[in-house]
Symmetry: C2
Subunit: 317 residues, 2 copies
Amino acid sequence: MKIKDLGEFGLIDRLTSILQVSDSSVVVGFGDDCSCVNINGELILFTSDIQLEGKHFLKEKIEPEDLGWKLISINVSDIVSCGGVPKWGFISVGFPPDTEFKYVEKIYRGMKDACDFYKTEIIGGNTTASDMVLLDLYLTGKTDRFVGRKGAKKGDYLILSGYTGLSRAGLELLLMNKKNYEDFEKRLIKAHTRPKARIDLSQKIMNYANSCIDVSDGLIGDLGHVERSSSVKIVLRKENLPVHPDLRLFCKKYSKDPFEYILYGGEDYELVFTVSKENINYFDNCFVIGSVEEGEGIFLKDGISTKKLEEKGFEHI
Amino acid sequence: MKIKDLGEFGLIDRLTSILQVSDSSVVVGFGDDCSCVNINGELILFTSDIQLEGKHFLKEKIEPEDLGWKLISINVSDIVSCGGVPKWGFISVGFPPDTEFKYVEKIYRGMKDACDFYKTEIIGGNTTASDMVLLDLYLTGKTDRFVGRKGAKKGDYLILSGYTGLSRAGLELLLMNKKNYEDFEKRLIKAHTRPKARIDLSQKIMNYANSCIDVSDGLIGDLGHVERSSSVKIVLRKENLPVHPDLRLFCKKYSKDPFEYILYGGEDYELVFTVSKENINYFDNCFVIGSVEEGEGIFLKDGISTKKLEEKGFEHI
Ligand SMILES: Nc1ncnc2c1ncn2[C@@H]1O[C@H](COP(=O)(O)OP(=O)(O)O)[C@@H](O)[C@H]1O
Ligand SMILES: Nc1ncnc2c1ncn2[C@@H]1O[C@H](COP(=O)(O)OP(=O)(O)O)[C@@H](O)[C@H]1O
Ligand SMILES: Cc1ncc(C[n+]2csc(CCOP(=O)(O)OP(=O)(O)O)c2C)c(N)n1
Ligand SMILES: Cc1ncc(C[n+]2csc(CCOP(=O)(O)OP(=O)(O)O)c2C)c(N)n1
């Protein structure tokens, strides 16, 4: 049996069952956006995300500064989705020996810019030679209250922090290899190459969210984790899903359905979370896109019709 | 300018100067075997080491269980070399989608065995597809006193925890692609594929060592870091360097100089450390191989002649 027969999540399930977490300091082990350990009363978060050439980016399609920025951002996104703030990072890199130093230097400047923006620091690293560019970050954070995938309650409102679908459109534009891009297309490309983690919402998530996940594999794919972990049914209202004007332009120009991107795009790095009714008002700048009910599955309500959605999302394996 | 023109350590120097560590909780940033952060009074250690197919191993030359064991061990080695004990690990992996599940499962069983042996746990992970097997571990540990590369003092004795050179001999044997190996050759191969970190010495290192480093790039290469960080001169006594009987057999059979392996082999994962005279007795089972003096450079005393050694060690880039 090959691992592709299991799929990424089938594989992770089997592997995590081999390892055992029995240390009582471990508050959250496998199964959420971050792991969490109580170190002398501090709730410390751990996460890791990689950018591997060929799988997460193509070298000639992303500025090295943006690549460095993105690496930090996708990890900060996991930290803030647990209600935390990033603290200390450890960077494991690999490069072909004949890589230009300036290229590597620019990646590091991009990482430094992101660290300054998110108020975090890289404090150590590891270096290897490799055949392709390998950037693996391990990020540690802190929170006063862990917000996970399994706290969603019946009666909660489902909130999305911003627009999704832009990153996937940007990736497709890059792969079109065009000589010239219109302004809205350049913005979509930037959404893909230089995403911003929602650190601005970290405190509110920590204070008010019952559950939260960041959108990396795609809105529906990631919501599926919340649905299963919390054992709830999620009902989305199509008319409440935010459609970015740039995405509308893209879909009009290339004859695409914007909801394919909004629901399944991936690499959006927005937050989708649930809150009790009395806490909705703290999230005025976000979009209430649905609600949490008893049951299972993810449903999309479009006017008077409701359909069950297939919980597909990006999978590497 | 390519990164190979800078070399691994020239590259690391430049990159670490781009990143800045200003958080006052960070006790040790770049420059040692681990980084160290004070979290609410606890001294927490961070390290990372990778096993990348083609660079650190060849898939058909190492049992997957040994590969998993080795990944944990090389990281534990960095933790104990700072006087610490391992606590929580985070595993970032990559596999080609058509990898056999059984292969991956065996790696995880090897990691689990090592975690049980070293009394540590992996508490989270990340998964990607990749063209070659990628195993990147982040390991966190704890210590009551950080032992680094820069505490060596004039008058200290230099101690080596065990035999070096075996791993390199084992690697060369593997690359000979022989159908049959003699028993001593199988032991040398095992030294390469299944090293054991010196966790048994962790407490004594923490209590009594002034400086310490683990031998991964080679005894002299790694001692060079201690020499430079501590600004001292190191004098080794050739007659005190331990020569393992299996290494002697190997060198006799293949007409090699054992000291080339002992001094420059690499991947030994023994500890080399300095202690004040009054603390030598705590390390009866180790080898006193030299002393620390004022000055600079690493010297090898052979009878009455002394020669300065070239501080070469394994470099990826
Ligand atoms: N790519 C990198 N970026 C930042 N720091 C790095 C990088 N690679 C190594 N370092 C730092 O340089 C020092 C030496 O690293 P390394 O040789 O990997 O140590 P070790 O052999 O003990 O694992 C460490 O303090 C590490 O944190
Ligand atoms: N190779 C692995 N080994 C062990 N645990 C893993 C591995 N890959 C992922 N995990 C765990 O599975 C969960 C889901 O991981 P992942 O999909 O990478 O989360 P995220 O998208 O938030 O980064 C996490 O809790 C993570 O710790
Ligand atoms: C060359 C290339 N192909 C495909 C993609 C699309 N893509 C890569 S990873 C990914 C999902 C998020 O990455 P992952 O490594 O799964 O992060 P995690 O879910 O662990 O946070 C997507 C949509 C891309 N960015 N670049
Ligand atoms: C296929 C293969 N080629 C060469 C080696 C030898 N080798 C690989 S890494 C290394 C040194 C230690 O590894 P490194 O990644 O530098 O660890 P660190 O110093 O960061 O702890 C050696 C001697 C090997 N083990 N396998």
